[in-house]
C-alpha cells in the first residue's frame, strides 16, 4: 500500500491542512509520498521533506502549474498515479476542482471530505450538510480521497528526512487559461471561513452594543456573527446570521454572547471545535452544547475579556 499525498501550499509555506491530511494518510497506512506542484516550490519541498512519516517528496515545478488549474494538475497526478493505491489530498478549492478529474480518468469513484479512516478502504464522511455521517467502503482498486482537515490532528512537520525527487510535468491542456485572481482583503475574516467567531444574540440589546463584540472580534482576529433574534431585532444585518437559515460555521472557537441557543442557531454552529457561551440565564439551552460557559452579564464579561486578552 502506497499513498500519494497532494500538498496544499501557497508557494512559500506548506499549509497546516496538509499536515492533517498527512495524519489521515498515516491512518490509512503504507508508504507516503508527498507531491508539491507549482511554479516555484523549492522552499515548500524542503519543508515537506521534514514532515514525519513522509518517505518521498515529488516536486513538479513548471509555469503551467502556477495556478494549479484542475486540467493541468489532474494530468500531472494521473502521470504519477500508477504507483499508488491511495491518492489523498486535503479538501480545498484546488483539490475539489482537480481530484474528481483524477478519479474519473482512473475510472474509480472519489471519497469526498472524509472525516474518519476506519481501514484502508473504509471511511466516514458527512452527508446532508453534516446532518448524517456515512460509513462507506470503496470497492475500487484505487482510492481517490479528499480529507476534511478539521477532523484530523496535524502530523508533526519535523523529524522526517524524505528524499526529494523532481518529476516531469505533462504539457498543459491549453483549454483553460487563468485570467485574474481577486483575493478578498478584509480586516475581519469571512464568517464561514473564520477560525474564530464572536457571535451575539438578542441579549446584546442594541446595535450600538454590538460594537463591544466587534472590539473583542478584532482582538481575537475573529469574524462577527449573530443569532436570528439579533438580526430580527435589527441589531445587525442578515448576512451575519449564523443558523439553520443563515450561515453554517465550524470555527476552532465560537464565542456566543447573549444567545439563548435555539436549535435553529445550534444547527449553524454545532460543529465548532470549542464553544464558549456567556449568558445570564442559567437555563439557556446553549449551555448544553458549550464546552465552557459563564453565567454572567455579558456587559460585565466583555470589557474584562477585551482588556485581559
Amino acid at each position: 500500500m502506497t499513498t500519494l499525498l497532494i500538498a496544499e501550499h501557497n508557494g512559500q509555506q506548506l499549509a497546516p491542512a496538509t499536515l492533517s491530511a498527512l495524519t489521515a494518510a498515516q491512518q490509512i497506512g503504507g508508504d507516503i509520498a508527498m507531491l508539491i506542484a507549482g511554479a516555484e516550490v523549492t522552499a515548500v519541498a524542503e519543508q515537506a521533506a521534514q514532515c514525519a512519516g513522509v518517505a518521498q517528496v515529488l516536486v513538479a515545478q513548471d509555469d503551467s502549474l502556477r495556478y494549479e488549474l484542475a486540467e493541468n494538475l489532474s494530468a500531472l497526478i494521473i502521470s504519477l498515479a500508477g504507483d499508488y493505491s491511495h491518492i489523498v489530498a486535503p479538501s480545498n478549492s484546488i483539490t475539489k476542482d482537480a481530484m474528481p478529474r483524477v478519479a474519473a480518468l482512473l475510472d474509480v469513484g472519489q471519497l469526498s471530505d472524509i472525516t474518519g479512516v476506519l481501514s484502508a478502504t473504509q471511511f466516514q464522511r458527512p452527508i446532508y450538510a453534516g446532518n448524517a455521517i456515512a460509513t462507506v467502503t470503496s470497492l475500487d482498486d484505487k482510492q481517490v480521497i479528499t480529507v476534511r482537515a478539521a477532523s484530523f490532528a496535524k502530523a508533526s512537520a519535523q523529524g522526517g528526512s524524505a528524499t526529494v525527487t523532481s518529476v516531469a510535468v505533462p504539457a498543459g491542456s491549453g483549454l483553460s487559461t487563468w485570467v485574474a485572481d481577486e483575493l478578498t482583503v478584509s480586516e475581519r475574516p469571512q464568517l464561514t471561513a473564520a477560525d474564530r467567531v464572536v457571535s451575539g444574540g438578542r441579549g446584546v440589546g442594541s446595535k450600538e452594543n454590538f460594537a463591544l463584540l466587534e472590539s473583542l472580534a478584532d482582538k481575537l482576529g475573529a469574524a462577527l456573527g449573530a443569532s436570528r433574534a439579533a438580526v430580527d431585532a435589527g441589531f445587525v444585518s442578515n448576512d451575519m446570521q449564523v443558523g439553520q437559515t443563515g450561515k453554517i460555521v465550524a470555527p476552532e472557537l465560537y464565542m456566543a454572547f447573549g444567545i439563548s441557543g435555539a436549535i435553529q442557531h445550534l444547527a449553524g454552529m454545532k460543529d465548532a471545535k470549542v464553544i464558549v457561551a456567556v449568558n445570564k440565564d442559567e437555563d439557556a439551552p446553549i449551555f448544553q452544547v458549550a464546552d465552557y460557559y459563564l453565567v454572567a452579564d455579558l456587559f460585565d464579561v466583555l470589557p474584562e475579556l477585551i482588556e485581559k486578552l
Binding site: 438578542r202 433574534a229 430580527d232 431585532a233 442578515n238 437559515t245 435555539a262 436549535i263
Partner: protein
Amino acid sequence: MRESMEFDVVIVGAGPSGLSTAIRLKQLNADLNVCVLEKGSEVGAHILSGAVFEPRALNELFPDWQELGAPLTTPVTKDEVYLLKGEQGEREIPHALVPKPMVNDGNYIISVGNLCRWLAEQAEGLGVEVFPGFAAAEILFHEDGSVKGVATGDMGVSASGEQLATYMEGMELHARYTVFSEGCRGHLGKQLIERFNLDQGKDPQHYAIGIKELWQIPADKHQPGLVIHGSGWPLEDASGGFFLYHGDNQQVMVGLIVDLNYKNPWMSPYEEFQRLKHHPLLAQYLTGGERVSYGARAIAKGGWNALPSMTMPGALLVGCDAGTLNVAKIKGTHTAMKSGMIGAEALAQVLADESKAWDSTFAQLFDASWLKEELYQTRNFAPAMHKFGTLLGGAFNFVDQNLFKLPFTLHDTSLDHAQLLPADQAPKIDYPKPDGKLSFDRLSSVYLSNTNHEEDQPCHLVLKDSTIPTGENLTRFAEPAQRYCPAGVYEIIEQDGGPKLQINAQNCLHCKTCDIKDPAQNITWVTPEGTGGPNYPNM
C-alpha cells in the same frame, strides 16, 4: 393588469375536501377544467390530523381504493378510552359506556397528509391541475358581487414591501365556480362568511387547537392498530382530550386537543401537551422513542349548530373551512371529503345546466346526504361538553348518542375569544421544565415541523392595531399569544426600556390559533409567500 387564467372550477386548498371536490368533478365530467391551488410546498406539507379515519366517503369516491394503493394500511384493532385522574392515575372507560360515535371498528389509523398526497395523484391522473406552492391571497368578485375567482399572492416582495429581483406578480384565476377548502379558519373563507353573512342565524363557530407529535418507538412497545383516547388531567379549567395512535412502521401519533374557549390566560396548550406525555399511560409507549415530527392546527368544532350556509353566488365553502367536522367522532376527514363530493355533484349539475339554481341544487343534495344526518345527530355533543364539562357532558352524550336521540338542541352562543379572565384573576400555571426526553421546548419542536418562510417578505400576521399587544392585551391578559401560539411566534421582549411585541413569523405553523383566540381579534392571519410554512412528513 395581472395576468389571468380561466377555469371551470378553481379550488383553494389541496386538503381532503378540496381534492375530493376536484376528483368527483372530473369523475362526473372529464371535460371540466379544474385546478387546485395549495399554499404548501407540496400537497400534504400543511396537513396535520390525528388521525383515525372512517373510510365511508373514500369508499364512495374510489370503491377500489385498495387496488389503487390508498395509504390505509393500519386497521384499528383495539380502542381504549381513559379518564386521567392526575399525574399518575387513570380510569379506563368500559367499552359499553363509550358514546357510539367514538367507537372505531372498521376504521384506519392513517396520516391524512399521506392520504392527501395519494388523492392528489389520483386527481392529477384524472386531469386536475394541482399547483402546490401557490397561495390564494385574495378573492375576486364580479361587478354583481358574485365570486369571480382568486388571485395568487405576489412573490419576491421584501419585508418593507419593495419588489425584489425575483419579484413575480400574482395571477388571477377566474372560474365559473370557486371552491374554498382552506381548512379551519381559512383566511378567505373568513372573509366570505362575513361578506355573505353565511353564519346568519347560526351559533358562533367554536374552535380547538390540536397539537400533535409523531414518534418512532421501540418495536416491543408498538401495537399497530391500538387507539387510545382520553380526557381529564392535565387540563383542569379547559375542556379537551388527548389521543395516542399506533400506526405502522413503529410510529405513534400523540396529541392533545384543547378547546379554545378556555378562560385562564396563563394556560399554554403547548406545555399542557408536553406534561401530558409524562403520564404513565402515555410514557409507557414513548419512553425510549424518538420524536420525529411536530405540528399544530386549529379545529372547527361547532358542528351542525355553527355550520354556516356553504353556498354563495359563484362559490362554495367545504370541509373545515365551513366546519363539517363531526365532533362526537372527533373526525373531520370523512365529512370534509363528503362535503366536497356533494359540492362537486351540485357543481356538475349547475355547470351542465345553467338554468339550475346553485343554492337549492346544493342544498337538496346536502339535505339528502348521510353527512347532514351525521352532523345533525351529533349536534348536541360539543355544546354539552361546553355546558356541563367533560364528566357530565360525557354522561349526557352517552345518553344522547347511545340510548335516545334527545329531541332538543343545545346551543352554545359564547365566543371563544371573549372567554379569557383578566390575568390577575386567574391562577398562574407553573409548568414543569422539559426533560428533553419526553417533553421539549417550543423551538426545538418548531424545528421538527420543518417550517420555513422566506425571511425577506412582509409579515403575514397582520395587526389591526399595533398598540394592543403591549397595551390592553399585556396589562389585562399578560398577552396570551405568548402562550397559546404553539410555535413561539409571539414574544414580548424588553427593548428601549419598554415592552415590545416581537413576531417571529418564520416560525408560524399556519395553525390559525392567533386569528381565533386573540381577545381583541386584532391579529389577522394572511397567506405568506407560497411554499412558506411547515413541511410535515407523514402528519
